[in-house]
Structure formats: structure tokens, C-alpha cells
Amino acid sequence: MFHWLEKHPFFFAVGVFIAIAFAGLIEILPNFAQASRPVIGTAPYSTLELAGRHVYIKNSCNACHSQLIRPFKSETDRYGHYSLSGEYAYDRPFLWGSKRTGPDLMRVGNYRTTDWHENHMKDPQSVVPGSIMPAYKWLFTNSADIDTVYAEQLTVAKHFAVPYNQDVPMKDGSVQNVKMASSIAEARSLALEEAKVVAADMKDQDVKDAVARGEIPEIVALIAYMNSLK
């Protein structure tokens, strides 16, 4: 049987394929049946938060920052409660990262403020002396792409039943309803409303002016996302 395989490339290839596909079949596929169910308190990303997530991905923040708190005392002391699977139910893609050149950001919204992020993104060393993080000044001038965000919201709501415009239970027993727009124009104005709240806490006059004009600089979206990480 074996020598026969060695001389018949096609069947040989089939044999190799079975050997390598075996692990995936047993290990990974069945787990999809029990797809990640959200834990109580996990809501879908709002338009501006998702835009901030796109900024996070565009700049590969995940190259240096993890979003996964492991169940050790040293990690829960530093970053907060360890991660639960259901908290990632709306993360497409996941952003766990593989290297902590900078600290974990899974719950950064609990202990950093809009103000802090603004200064930090402009000049990290002024906030954290000795930091090796580069400044991200272009975030203050580039505009966030709300249309693409809206297209993504529509897609996940349609294909993966992400509960936009539905009541989602929160930890304190209340419910939260994350709005998704019904047209591009409405999506833009929804994002702008959120942006105004963030910009109110910021100091950069150019950013405030831009938001007043109806534009959304990337930094505003990114901070909205950072603040939502809890």
C-alpha cells in the first residue's frame, strides 16, 4: 500500500491531505457549533466605536498591544478581570495580539480618559516618560471612514445576526440598544453625534473645529473605541 502511494502522486496528495486536515476536522470545526455567545454586558460596537476599531487595525496597534488578560494574579492586578470568551462575541477580527511591547488594552476604558489618550497619542513620552511608543500625529488630521464602517455594520447584522437596534441586557439589569442607521446619511450623523461627546473632552482646537464642521478626525474615533473597552 505504501509503496503504491509513493508512485501515484495524486493518491499520495490525497493521503497527505487527510493527514493534515485531520487535526482541523476534529479540533476546530466542531467548536463552531458552539459559536461564541456574548456574555451579559457585551453590546455590539456603535458606529463611532467601530470606526475607531478600524483606525486601531489600520495602524496595527495589535502589533504591540494585546487584548487578552490571562487568569493570573499579576495580570488581573494590572489589567482587571481576566478575559471571558463571550466578551469577544462581536470582535471580527479578534485583536488578542501576540506581543506585549506595550500594555494590554482589553479594559483600558476603565482607567484611562479621553484627555489622557489625546496627550498620549500626540506625544507618548510626555505622559509616560521612557515610553518607546511613537507619536500618532496623523490621527489628528486624517478623517475616519464612516461609510465603510456602516457597510460592515450592515454586513454583520445581516449575516451574523449581530443585535443592532435590539435590546441587549447589561450587568446592572438595564438594557442597552445600540443603534444602526438605515441610510448612509444617518450613519454619518449618528457617528457625528458620538464624536461631539468625545470632542467636548478634548483640548486640540483643530479637532474641535473639525468636529464642529461635521468632520470626524481618526483620533476621535480611536478614543471612542478605547473608552468602550471595559
Binding site: 505504501f2 503504491w4 509513493e6 493527514a19 485531520f22 476534529i26 457549533a33 458552539q34
Partner: protein, 73 residues
């Protein structure tokens, strides 16, 4: 039967099967030492060592195709 049980059975059966196949392979290689065409496995190293286009193949695919005219034996 739950999916987790299926996973466990599937894992056990397939692993067992593969272990049997692999050990069967080892047994076959070291007892027979030759494949069905009577070629010693170790002589297959010559596929790399004698790989000029006019070298004779270790075991030719078919008589009419091998080797092209003017090949050395």
C-alpha cells in the same frame, strides 16, 4: 450524543488508526527493505545523487519513455 462526545470518539478512533498505520509502515519498511518493484528503499537516495538528465532513473516510469535517445546507462 453531544458534539463534544463525537469529538472525543472521533479523536480516539482516528488517532488509533493513524498510530496503527504508522507503526505498520515502520514494520513494513524495516522488514521488507524493498518496495513492490524490488527496489531497495535506500537506493532512492540516488534520485538526488544521479540526477543528470542523461542518468538512468532508479526505476523508470515506463519502457517506451525511458530514457531519451543517447542517454548513458
Amino acid at each position: 450524543m453531544s458534539i463534544a462526545e463525537l469529538q472525543a470518539y472521533g479523536y480516539f478512533v482516528l488517532t488509533f488508526l493513524l498510530v496503527v498505520v504508522l507503526y505498520g509502515y515502520i514494520y513494513h519498511l524495516y522488514t521488507k527493505k524493498r518496495d513492490a518493484d524490488g527496489v531497495d528503499y535506500e537506493s532512492y537516495s540516488n534520485m538526488a545523487l544521479k540526477d543528470d538528465i542523461d542518468d538512468a532513473p532508479v526505476s523508470a516510469l515506463s519502457d517506451e519513455k525511458v530514457p531519451f535517445e543517447g542517454a548513458k546507462k
